[in-house]
C-alpha cells in the first residue's frame, strides 16, 4: 500500500444538494471548510468549531451532523445537504418562509444550521411534540433568544400551531 504524506490532497467525490462534486482536498480540512472554501457554499456557518453551537449543521446521508467535526475526506461517496438546497428556482422553501413570517430570524447566523436540524427532526417526527422539537434543536444555539419563534414556525409548518403566542406561556 502506498503511504500518503501528511497533508497530501486526496480526491473525493460526493453529492451536495443533489449535484455531483469531485475535488482534491487535504485530509485535515473539515467538511465545513470544504463546503465554504472549496465549493463556495457559504450558507453553512462556522460558530464555535467544537460541536457546541450547531451553526455548521448539515445533513450527511440524511442525518444532521456538525460539519466542523467531520473531515471532508470522510464525506467521500456521501450525500450532503446544506441550506443552499432549500430554495427552488430562487424561491424560499416553505420552512424558510415560515421562519421569516414568525420572526424566527434576527441576526440569522444560527438559521442555516437550525434549518438542517429541523429537516432531520421532521424526517423522524412529521408531527413532533414540543419536547421532540426542543430535543431536535438542542444542539443549535440561537443567541438572539428566538427559540419560541422558531418553534412556532415549526408548528405552523406541521399544521400544529393553534394560536400564535400560545407557546409564550409554555414551559416544556
Amino acid at each position: 500500500m502506498k503511504r500518503a504524506e501528511a497533508g497530501e490532497p486526496v480526491e473525493i467525490s460526493l453529492r451536495i444538494n443533489g449535484e455531483k462534486v469531485t475535488c482534491r482536498v487535504p485530509p485535515h480540512v473539515t467538511l465545513l471548510r470544504f463546503l465554504r472554501e472549496y465549493v463556495g457554499l457559504t450558507g453553512t456557518k462556522e460558530g464555535c468549531s467544537a460541536g457546541e453551537c450547531g451553526a455548521c449543521t448539515v445533513l450527511f446521508n440524511g442525518r444532521a451532523v456538525n460539519s466542523c467535526l467531520v473531515l471532508a475526506v470522510e464525506a467521500d461517496g456521501a450525500n450532503i445537504r446544506t441550506v443552499e438546497g432549500e430554495c427552488r428556482n430562487n424561491r424560499l422553501s416553505r420552512l424558510q418562509e415560515l421562519l421569516d413570517k414568525h420572526h424566527a430570524v434576527q441576526c440569522g447566523f444560527c438559521t442555516p444550521g437550525m434549518i438542517m436540524s429541523i429537516r432531520d427532526l421532521l424526517a423522524r417526527h412529521p408531527k413532533p411534540t414540543l419536547r421532540q422539537i426542543q430535543e431536535g434543536i438542542e444542539g443549535n444555539f440561537c443567541r438572539c433568544t428566538g427559540y419560541v419563534q422558531i418553534i412556532e414556525a415549526i408548528l405552523e409548518y406541521t399544521g400544529q400551531l393553534k394560536k400564535k403566542g400560545e407557546l409564550k406561556r409554555v414551559r416544556g
Binding site: P27, H28, A50, C68, L69
Partner: protein, 271 residues
Amino acid sequence: MIREFSYQAPRKQKELLDILASERENARVLAGGTDLLVNIRLGLQHPRIVVDIKKIREHTAIRFDEKEGLSIGAAVTINEVMENRDVQKHFPALVEAAKVLASHQLRNRATVIGNLCNASPCADMAPPLLCLDARVEIVSDSGRRNLPLEAFFAGVKKTRLTPGEYVERIVVPPRWADAGGGFRKMKRVRGHDIGVLSVCLTKKGPLRRVAVGSAAPTPVLVGEFRGRVSTEEVIRKAMRRINPIDDVRGSAEFRRFLTRRYVAELMKEVR
C-alpha cells in the same frame, strides 16, 4: 486550524490491523471524531495518520441474541443504539444514558466505543455499560483479548489499549438482558452538556449493580448487591468508591450530595 495528517479508511480489518501494527503511536483511530477532531484542533493530539474504521462493514453491526447477548460494533453511533428495537426492549439503562449524551447531531456521529476509548470520567455510556457488565473485545495483528469494561479504564482519558490494538466491539452478556435500569445525570443547563455527575442502577431478580460517572479518575463501578440491601448501605459503599474533585462543573461536595441523592432515587425507582 487542524494540523496536517494523512487519512486512511481501510475496508478490511486485516488492512486496519496492518496499519496499526506498522504505525503504532503515530496512528489514531477515527470513529465519530467528536472527541478526536476537537483534540487535534486544540493541539492535544497530533497523529501523523488518522485511520477511519467506519468503512469496515462488521463494525456497523449491532445485534442481540439470547446466547451471546448484545454486540455493539466500533462504528455504531449513540443514536443507532437508542433507535435499536432490541436495545429498547432489553436494555433500558442504555437508552436512558444515550438520550442525554451530547446533542442530536453529535449523537448521529459519536460512537459508543469512541465514548469508552476516550475514557473521560464523564463518559455517559460508561455507567450503564459497567452496570451491564460489558466486555471489551480488543484486536491487534497478533491476536485478540477481551477485558471487562471495569478493567479497561486506566485513568483520566487512559485505557489499557497498547499501540497496535483497537476495540472491535463490546458485548453485553445475556444475563443482564431485561434488567430494570435507570440513569440520572446532572447538567448545568437543560440543553446538551457534559455531566456534573451521573449514576446508573440496574436490577435483575435479586441482583443490583450501581455505577457512578464524573466522581473519580475513571467511571466507577460501585459494586454488585445481592438480595435485600438498604439504600444506606449502597450509598456508604458508593462514598467509599468515589473520589470526586472540585472543578468548573461543580464541587466535590456537590458531587457527593448528588451521588447520595441519585442512588436513593434509583433504589426506589428501579424495580
